[in-house]
Amino acid sequence: MTGTEKIRFERVTKTFTVRDTKQKGVMQEFTAVKDLSFTVKEGEFLTLVGPSGCGKSTLLDLLGGLSMPTRGRILIDGEKITGPGLDRGIVFQQYALFPWKTARGNIEFGLEAKGVPKQERRERAEHFLALVGLSHFADRYPHELSGGMKQRVAIARSLAFNPDVLLMDEPFAALDAQTRESLQSELLRIWEKTKKTIIFITHGIDEAVYLGERVVVLTPGPGTVKTIVDIPLKSRLEDADIRSHSDFVKARHEVWSLLHEHEYQGAHI
């Protein structure tokens, strides 16, 4: 299963046209990410870590087909990404749930758009609500759910239309430490169960090392790939306190050192 290439970034550059900060009315090119090249294997859990503003969300938008690279290309299953598709599901940091829909309604949203019949929609929503442990909250509106529960719904919503790839943009950054840890292990459990390819963006070193089979370390301004670190941890879920394990500590330190080299001076990690 693992080994086959799923996604390939080929020298991807994205520039934005922005207003000049000094001269009024003058437009300027701003490079958010530059010459990104890396591949993601099928079924892999890949984390991307880098300081805030280094282009992580830009990169995810490109993968989601929500914007197009200025130069270079991104391939998925060997084909160039030309727009959004239900082969990729996105989970955003701010949940992005539709506030007028219940938890169930939110999960059914993508299916509805896809034209899945009502009965099947129901069943699938039930299944994914159960998967994220929210069966009893199906009829709650987002404002009646805690942050952690909202993010579970968002994850269930993305999984519901059965994408091959799950794209996650700092999904747990707004949660408290305890909720974050329990969602992290739940995500690993879901990953093992569903065999999805997961690309997970974070600015937390701990999170990147705990979740990722490989960690892509990005440099700031413009964002480029600095190194890709292999994390040789086996069974994260079996060892309850894997974060104190020497392999984890070593891997964590390696990523930490990379993120504290001179090019990160002044960046917000």
């Binding site: 087909g65 539709f98 993508g110 442990g133």
Partner: protein, 274 residues
């Protein structure tokens, strides 16, 4: 798995008893000052604080109000007013909501129309009353038209603003699920806009009554506004107050009705004071 269990056990059944009690308390809080006000209205003329001839006591107003109800006079005026305001209001919604959705959806339309909309928004409807009467006469048409005019702007402008202010993240999230523009509009833009549109509708509801009464006071043969001026001319002061009271009730009724609808359509919104 532990977290899942603990979350599920946190679901508790509603407590209906507490709910009834708190709603009783709410009714009490809402009516206490009102009752005091009516008491004051009753007492002040009785003890000579104000002149009974110009400010009759509350009970006399209620008596003449009841007499007008029985004679059917009040109902006729009430119906005349409500028919005019509802027709104007409904027409305004029919025009302003689709138009607002369209203008809000197409940036070019918004840019083109913005100056005109600003101009009309800032033109007091009542200032145009003479124009409407000149063009449409003093019959029903001019009254319905002025209500229509007054109601259109708040609904139109709120609808445009609503469409323009939909959370971009929601649009992004929906687009990532590869939905068509048509579906995006129907399933995201429209529902997200409902609360803001309703604010406009409520503003229009209040405006409809206000403008209509004023129009009826100037030139009409029936309606609550006409009732008030007519009573005043003939020195039927309790009847005049009864008319005023009816208008207040009508306004309240419309506002309550619209609030109820608004709550029904916006129940997903977080209550402001929780």
């Amino acid at each position: 798995m532990e977290t899942i269990k603990s979350i599920q056990s946190a679901v508790e059944p509603r407590k209906p008893k507490l709910f009834v009690f708190s709603s009783l308390q709410k009714v009490f809080k809402q009516s206490i000052v009102l009752v005091a006000l009516f008491l004051l209205w009753e007492i002040a003329p009785r003890i000579g604080l104000v002149d009974q001839a110009f400010f009759p006591k509350f009970s006399s107003v209620v008596v003449s109000w009841w007499n007008m109800v029985i004679s059917g006079e009040l109902f006729a005026h009430f119906m005349a007013s409500i028919t005019r305001s509802v027709s104007g209001f409904a027409l305004a919604l029919l025009i302003a909501i689709p138009l607002g959705l369209m203008i809000g959806w197409y940036p070019l339309a918004r840019e083109l129309l913005n100056p005109v909309l600003e101009l009309f928004r800032n033109t007091a409807a009542l200032a145009l009353l003479p124009v409407f009467m000149l063009l449409l006469g003093i019959g029903e048409t001019s009254k319905v038209a002025i209500v229509l005019f007054a109601c259109t702007w708040p609904v139109l402008l709120n609808t445009i603003a609503a469409v323009g202010n939909v959370d971009p993240l929601l649009i992004k999230s929906a687009r990532s699920m590869n939905i068509s523009s048509y579906q995006l509009f129907l399933k995201v833009i429209l529902p997200a806009s409902v609360p803001t549109i309703f604010t406009g509708i409520r503003m229009a509801g209040t405006g409809a009554i206000l403008v209509l009464i004023a129009a009826e006071m100037v030139g009409a043969k029936e309606g609550l506004g006409y009732l008030i001026t007519y009573s005043q001319y003939n020195f039927q002061i309790p009847e005049m107050y009864a008319g005023i009271l009816t208008i207040a009730l009508l306004g309240l009724l419309i506002n309550q009705g619209l609030s109820m609808l608004e709550r029904k359509f916006s129940k997903w919104k977080q209550p402001v004071n929780s």
